[in-house]
Amino acid sequence: MVDALHEIHRVLALGGLLVDARPDSRVLGHAEHVTAGGHRSVGTIRTARAELGNDRASDRAITRVKRERLFRSRRKGRFWHRVPFDGLAALQEYLREHLRFEHRVRWTAGTATRRRIKDDRFTIRRAVRYELLERVSGQT
């Protein structure tokens, strides 16, 4: 990870920008029921344990190259991204094969409610964070 960041530093012109954007595993994802009034959370989705470890390694690598004065943070933030599904079964199948998420929803809606709405539209809402890092003059 740090090797990749050193390479990025090398190929960036002085003052150039690195955009680091990735899913924010510090924030729970949500399974949402799409209704006429909007989106209602029916459960939460956690990031898989292995991916949490990878994300922490990425965070440490970014921290290190800032400490090495190769990059400095210009701006950071977070946005939400929704992935749509035709029904509950499609959402669950997506999760079963997903590499980042745990493979099941931790439901907050009861079984009867889920049965009643299972053919409606759903989304998974996840947080994505980003940081703009300026290449500064430090040598790798």
Binding site: G16, V19, A90
Partner: protein
């Protein structure tokens, strides 16, 4: 985005860009078109070219790099199909970038690090 997960079939990481935010949505959050306008841009982990081709109309040049040959083949095909002339795609790894020092003004690492 109109497609749903069932439209695009199983989750295949390099080709799952239809389940990601659009390039325009991400660019708007990061700072808008001025971030890449007239710039030399590298999209690291470009997959099938979702972001690279999404910003190509604004950028001076766009290079995409990904370790997955299948993703790069898809990106090249999309570039041809869309008539994008300022984008190039190569198979490679972020740990050993096949570019000269200072070759880019912007490097995008979206869902990659």
């Amino acid at each position: 985005m109109s497609s749903t997960a069932s439209d695009v079939g199983k989750h295949v990481p390099a080709l799952a860009s239809s389940l990601r935010p659009s390039a325009q949505d991400e660019l708007a959050v990061w700072g808008g078109p001025r971030l890449v306008r007239g710039k030399r841009v590298l999209d690291l982990g470009c997959g099938d070219g979702r972001l690279a081709l999404g910003v190509a109309a604004l950028a001076r040049t766009v290079d995409g790099l990904d370790p997955d040959p299948e993703g790069i083949a898809a990106a090249r095909k999309r570039a041809r199909d869309e008539g994008v002339g300022n984008a190039r795609f190569e198979v490679g790894a972020a740990q050993s970038l096949p570019y000269k020092d200072g070759a880019f003004d912007v490097v995008i690492s979206s869902w990659t690090l």
